[in-house]
Amino acid sequence: MWKTGFLFFYLLCLSVFDGKEKRVPMILLIIGTAAACAVGIYGALRGRRGLECLLGLIPGLCLLIVAWATKKAGYADGIVLAVVGAFEGFRGCMLIFSISLITLSVCCAVLLLLKRVQRNSILPYIPFLCTGYLLWKVMAL
């Protein structure tokens, strides 16, 4: 429960910064990474949870590679997704990622139809990740 609360609060904080400036402070990313490492180490010491944490990093690392290769995404998105993956495991992370991407793409399609954005316009991603996390938790209940 504390993990859910922490992660949601963390994503909410990042969403505020991201929504305002489409950038997030590095200190928050460092805090998230440290928390993810702590969760991973604690899980590894207690049993098989460590492997799940490692697998959960895969979607975030893939997004980092996409960001590095195409410059169409920010590095912080990948890092935050990896943090979410460390907390929720591979399956949870993939579902949250999918939900957030679907929400974002629907939003983009609507904005494109309304001619409010163009192909190369940038949109904040972390608020959608936070929405995805919230929706996933609601669906899991």
Partner: protein, 147 residues
């Protein structure tokens, strides 16, 4: 955070957190296609392994010398209980179903792979005709005039 609204001054560094509209539209499509291909490969792999296991069971049943049907069913069920489910991946296998009608042995199994928001099901069937080599050889010998 004061004055020009820059976060940089307060925290010493920032990282971009955005997706372009293009990426937001392309990424879900790429992700869906990748997931579909990966799951389809898992599904195909599990189906092939299930068919292989059934093939082995059907062959064992077909070459068994046991004449009594109940004993034969028990024998095949014993083999079926020895099937190693550890080699299946993300697979939920049902029980192995055996049917013996005359000399026709039919072995089948159902399995399913959980795809996000959907379940892929399959049913593998293997049929073999039971043979008795000794009886067959004797019949052939009789045909060619032997004892």
């Amino acid at each position: 955070m004061e004055g020009d609204g820059s976060v940089k001054k307060c925290y010493g560094g920032e990282a971009g957190a955005y997706l372009t509209v293009e990426a937001a539209l392309v990424l879900p499509v790429v992700l869906s296609v990748l997931l579909f291909v990966i799951y389809a490969m898992f599904f195909q792999y599990n189906r092939c392994v299930a068919e292989q296991d059934l093939g082995v069971l059907a062959l064992r049943g077909a070459v068994s010398r046991t004449e009594d049907k109940e004993l034969l069913a028990e024998e095949i069920e014993k083999y079926a209980s020895e099937v190693d489910y550890g080699k299946y991946f993300m697979w939920k296998a049902g029980g192995i179903d055996l049917k013996l009608e005359g000399n026709q042995l039919r072995v089948s199994v159902q399995g399913e792979l959980s795809y996000p928001l959907h379940v892929w099901k399959t049913m593998s069937v293997y049929e073999n005709h039971r043979v008795n080599p000794t009886f067959f050889v004797r019949q052939c010998r009789k045909l060619i005039g032997g004892k």
